[in-house]
Amino acid sequence: MNSLKAQRGGWQTALLVAGGFAILVPAQMALDRRLAAYRQTPEMLWMPSRKVLRTLSLGHNGLLADIYWTRAVQYFGRQRILRRREYPLLAPLLEITVTLDPQLLVAYRFGGVFLAAPPPLGAGQPEKAIDLLRRGIQANPDQWRLWHDLGFIYYWELQDYPAASAAYLEGSKHPRAAPWMQVMAAVILQKGGDRATSRFLWTEIFQSTEDETIRDNARMHLDTLRALDDIEELERRAAAFRDRTGRWPQSFQEMTAAGLLEGLPADPQGHPYQLQPDGQITLHPSSEVKLDYGPSPEAR
């Protein structure tokens, strides 16, 4: 008798729960539709003052810095996905992050790359990136790589080779700095933005970072440099073909048959290069390798 009652009670509860959700779910969906307009609030910082935020953290500034760093990364990712060309909140978010935790190196390095990079790759604010990195150097004097990041902004984004050289030279004075820092200081001053120097510096960034976004960015630039090298070399060989035959080659197969190529040349993403009737080399339409940016015309 009792078990029958309990069983009935169980069924009634289950029915109530199911019935409740049957109403709750469509009600929530209706609310979502009606409240969509109210929820479209503009991106905001929550707390614009860095110093106030640090004081209000009540000693949990490390935790709060992590939250702001996560916000900065998510904000950057979202703006990129939405293909927006502006990142107005990136600099303030990173500044708040490093005020809360001045030892959060990843924020300086990330900011150094993506604040300085031109849109749509970054915020196009190299001066803010320089300010951020100088703060990082002041708070972390034992981190020589921040000098490398600073020098690289002067070198790549601003093409200010004396300033870049000075930054590398200053960083090279650190007892644990890599020996190539001093070499870079001299090479940049002497050769400016040549492609070999650019390749070395991007390779160094690619190998030293733990941040996947920074690594992808460095890989993309290295792809560009390799494609520029390839195109230059292929155009030189096409010119050699014309010197021999008196006409431009019509296909890579012709160049291979003439002993000028060993196979179908492909860009760093694996897409075959395109040979134009006038001997010019272009990228495959599906290729995502970019050729329209770089430190200086010389490097292209």
Binding site: L58, G59, G62, L63, D66, T70, E210
Partner: protein, 264 residues
């Protein structure tokens, strides 16, 4: 002989305070919640990039600190009041026990409870750290310094709670302690404010408050050690000395107030 008897009596109060605290369900809820939060830090780390370990350590240390603070306040405010409310204090004081022994025993008992709780939460943090990294690194040892400083902070909270609970109701004691905790975190700003002002009285007042209030920001090294940075031995020694002295003052003041309290 007398001192030995006094020691064993105080020890009995310490252990009794601990036993009473571990019977409280609130304690287990708070510890469980802190451990869940530490475990969830493993997921928070996935959202961000490059700092999974830093996030885990910051969330873990903040959880230990915040939940330790809640435990210290919840248990601390009732230390004296509960005994009076349940009338058990009268039975205790009818025996040859001094009021100072009662206060010191209560203070040490709650500190012992906090030590055990913090140890439990720390084990949770170390397990989560091992799960994330699959190994420990030499610089992870500095985490112990951050945990030790959290314990020192909690002992100051306990001292404050005990002091306030000697003359105020539990609710008021909780409010006073929390306000002291918040203001104690602002004490550096208080001093800067004093230095900036042109008014001599204000400057003197802010400087006096700076030294009078417990300076909780001195114990905040969590963000620093989460990057594997070491903490100087002199800082550890000075913070220990500071907490010992401040707690001695608080307990002495609590004993003084409690000794003059009319318990009829």
């Amino acid at each position: 002989m007398l001192s030995q008897m006094m020691f064993s009596q105080t020890l009995a109060i310490v252990l009794n305070t601990f036993r009473e605290a571990v019977r409280d369900r609130v304690l287990y809820n708070l510890i469980a919640f802190a451990l869940i939060l530490i475990a969830s830090a493993l997921l928070f780390g996935e959202i961000s990039i490059g700092i999974q370990k830093t996030i885990l350590l910051n969330v873990g240390l903040s959880s230990i600190s915040i939940f330790g603070l809640l435990i210290a306040i919840f248990l601390g405010i009732g230390l004296v009041y509960k005994e009076m409310d349940k009338r058990s204090l009268y039975a205790l004081l009818s025996k040859p026990i001094r009021r100072s022994q009662f206060i010191i025993g209560k203070f040490l008992g709650l500190n012992f409870t906090l030590l055990v709780n913090t140890a439990l939460m720390s084990v949770g943090l170390w397990v989560a750290l091992f799960y994330l990294m699959r190994r420990f690194e030499p610089q992870d040892q500095y985490l112990w310094v951050a945990i030790y400083f959290i314990l020192l902070q909690l002992s100051l909270i306990t001292g404050l709670c005990l002091f306030f609970s000697c003359f105020a109701t539990p609710v008021l004691s909780a409010i006073f302690t929390f306000v002291a905790y918040v203001v104690g975190n602002f004490s550096a700003d208080l001093r800067v404010f004093g230095e900036l002002t042109q008014n001599g009285t204000l400057k003197g007042l802010s400087t006096a408050l700076y030294y009078l209030l417990p300076n909780f920001s001195d114990f905040n090294v969590s963000a620093w050690v989460s990057h594997g940075n070491p903490v100087e031995g002199s800082v550890i020694l000075l913070n220990t000395l500071y907490a010992l002295c401040y707690n001695s003052v608080l307990v002495a003041a609590a004993v003084w107030i409690f000794s003059r309290k009319d318990l009829k």
